[in-house]
Amino acid sequence: MMADNGGRMAARRRTPFEYINVILIIVMVILCLAPLLHIASMSLSSNRAILSGEVSVLPRGINLEAYRKVFQDNSMLKSLGLTVLLTAGYTFLAMLMTIAAAYPLSKRLKGRSVFMFLILFTMFFSGGTIPDYLLIRGLHLTNHIGSLILPALINPFFLLILISFIRSLPPGLSEAAEIDGCSPMRTLTRIVLPLSMPAIATLSLFYAVGRWNGFMDALMYITNPKLYPIQLKLYQVIVNSMTNDPLSMQGDQLVSIMPESIKAASIMFATVPILIVYPWLQKYFISGVMLGSIKE
C-alpha cells in the first residue's frame, strides 16, 4: 500500500523527472527481455539469416527446422521428460520431509534445542564438494537418479522458514484439537497443514525451481547420458559446439558442427517451461521472500 510513498503525492503533475524515470525503466525492461527475444527469434530463423546478421528481435526466414531437428534427436525430449518427473518427485519428497521436520520442531518438544543445533550447524559448515561426492560414490548412487534427490531433501533454510510460519499460526485451533483428543498427527493433517498452504506452496516452488535449474550435482554424479537432466543436456549441447564457436576465432568453419538456430532452439527448450509457469508463480516467489526475508 505504502510502496509508492513518493509516487502518490505528485500523481497529478507529471514532472520531467518522472518521464525520465519511466523511460529509464522501459529501457531496462527491454534490456531484460531482449536477450530472450533474440534467442527465441534465432531459434525460428534460418541459419543463413543468422550468420548474415539479419536476426535481431524478429525472426527472419521463419521456419521450424531447428525445433524439428531437436525433436528428431529425441534425447532432448527424453531429458526434458526425465527432468519433469525428477522435479515433481523431488519437490514432493522434499516437501514431505520438510514438513515432517518442521511440525515437531515448531512445538515445545524435549530435545528440540539439540535438533535445532544439528540443523543450524549445517547451514554454516558442510563437508564440501569432494566429501559430498565421495559419500555419493560410497553409497553407489552415482548414475542413479537418487543422487539428485536424496542429498537435497531438506534445505535447512526452508525448514527454518516453515518452522517460523507454523509457529506464527494462531495456537488456539491446534490446542482445541488436542484437547478434543486429536493425536499430533491428526492435528497436523487436519489443522496445521491446511493453514500452512501459503508457505507450503511457496517453498514447493523454491524446491522445484532449484531442482529444475540444478546443474552441479548432475555434472558430478551423472555420467550416463540417458540420465542427463535438462541443464546438463543443454550444457553438453552448448559446450560441444564451443570448440567451434567462441574459442577458435578463425571464422570459416564457425558453427559448422552445431547451427546457431539449433543451439537457440535447445536453449528455448529448457527455458520455456520456466517461462510458462513464471507469471502466475511470481506472487508466491515474492511472498516467499517476505516469509523468511530470504536474500536470494
Binding site: A3, C32, L109, Y235, I238
Partner: protein, 301 residues
C-alpha cells in the same frame, strides 16, 4: 519416570516424524564432514578413510605450494569484489527508481519482467550469453559493427570477458535484488515525505534525503553480509561462463576444487582446498555478523 512415560505416550508421533529428517541430516550433512578427514591423509579410494595413510598437514603444504591454488583464490576475491562494486548498487538504484513509478500497473509489469532472469539457470544464461556476445555472429558485435566499432572478443579476451561476466551478473540479479529494498522502503515513515515536500523538496531530493537514509540500515546489513561472503563463490556461474581462453580469470576456488577433485581425482588436495575455503568463510561470516550486530544492534545469525 511415570511422567516421562506419559510424555512419550503423548508425543511419540512427533518424535517418529523426526526420524527420517534426522537420518537425512546425519547421512547427507554430517556424513560428508567425516570425509573431511581425507584432507589429512594420502587418500586412496580403494583403501577408504580407515585404510589410507595419515600425513598430517602435508596436503595443505602441497596446496599452499600450488600456483593454481593462489590463482583461483585471487580470482575468487577479484570476481567477488568486482561483483560487489557493480551488482551490489544496481538493485538499490533500481529499487529507488521503481519506487518513484506512479502507475501501479506499469510498476507491477516492470517488476515481473525484471525478476525473471533470477529464475533462469546459469546454463541457460550461459547459452544465451555465448550467442549474444559471440565475436562474429553475436548480436552485440553486429550492432557495434553498425556504428563502425570493431568486434570485441567478449568471450575470449580475459579483460573483455570480465565485463561480460559482470554485466551478465547484473542482468541476472539486479531485479530480484530490489525486493528486499522495496520492502524496506515501505517501512519509511510517510510523514517524512510530507514534511520534505512542505519544505519544498522535489522528487529527486526526497529520494536522496528521505528514501535513501530510510533504507540505509538494510543496505549496510546486506553489504556487510556480502563482504563476509567474499571468499565463497558459487560453482555454476564461473564454470558455465568461463572457458579455456579466459581461464586466467575464470578459474575460481569452486571450479578448481571440481577440476582437481573430480576430473583428476586428487581427492585429498581438493578436500583440503575446500576445507580451507570453508574455514576462512566461516571466520569472515562470524566477523561480519559481529560487525553487523554492533552497527545495527541486530545480528543476522
Amino acid at each position: 519416570m511415570k511422567s516421562l512415560r506419559l510424555y512419550l505416550y503423548r508425543n511419540w508421533q512427533l518424535y517418529a516424524l523426526l526420524i527420517l529428517p534426522l537420518a537425512f541430516f546425519l547421512v547427507f550433512k554430517y556424513g560428508p564432514m567425516y570425509g573431511i578427514l581425507i584432507a589429512f591423509q594420502d587418500y586412496n579410494l580403494f583403501k577408504g578413510v580407515t585404510g589410507s595413510e595419515w600425513v598430517g598437514l602435508d596436503v595443505f603444504r602441497e596446496v599452499f605450494g600450488m600456483s593454481g591454488f593462489y590463482e583461483a583464490l585471487r580470482n575468487t576475491f577479484m570476481l567477488n569484489l568486482l561483483d560487489l562494486l557493480v551488482s551490489f548498487p544496481a538493485p538499490i538504484v533500481l529499487a529507488l527508481m521503481l519506487n518513484e513509478l506512479a502507475g501501479r500497473r506499469f510498476k507491477k509489469f516492470a517488476q515481473t519482467v525484471l525478476y525473471l532472469p533470477h529464475f533462469l539457470s546459469w546454463v541457460i544464461i550461459g547459452g544465451i550469453m555465448f550467442q549474444v556476445f559471440a565475436t562474429k555472429t553475436g548480436i552485440v558485435n553486429l550492432l557495434l559493427g553498425r556504428f563502425g566499432i570493431d568486434p570485441v572478443p567478449f568471450l575470449t579476451d580475459k579483460y573483455a570477458w570480465l565485463v561480460t561476466y559482470l554485466a551478465v551478473g547484473v542482468w541476472q540479479s539486479a531485479g530480484w535484488g530490489t525486493i528486499i529494498y522495496l520492502a524496506a522502503i515501505t517501512g519509511v515513515n510517510s510523514e517524512l515525505y510530507e514534511a520534505a515536500s512542505v519544505d519544498g523538496a522535489g522528487r529527486l531530493r526526497r529520494m536522496w534525503s528521505v528514501t535513501l537514509p530510510g533504507i540505509r540500515p538494510t543496505i549496510v546489513m546486506l553489504l556487510i553480509l556480502k563482504i563476509g561472503e567474499i571468499v565463497q563463490i558459487g560453482f555454476d556461474r564461473p564454470y558455465v561462463l568461463g572457458n579455456v581462453s579466459v581461464r586466467d580469470f575464470s578459474e575460481v576456488i569452486s571450479t578448481f576444487v571440481y577440476k582437481t577433485g573430480i576430473q583428476t581425482a586428487q581427492y585429498s588436495i581438493a578436500t583440503a582446498v575446500g576445507l580451507f575455503q570453508a574455514v576462512v568463510g566461516i571466520v569472515l561470516l562470524l566477523l561480519a555478523n559481529a560487525i553487523a550486530k554492533k552497527i545495527t544492534d541486530n545480528g543476522v545469525l
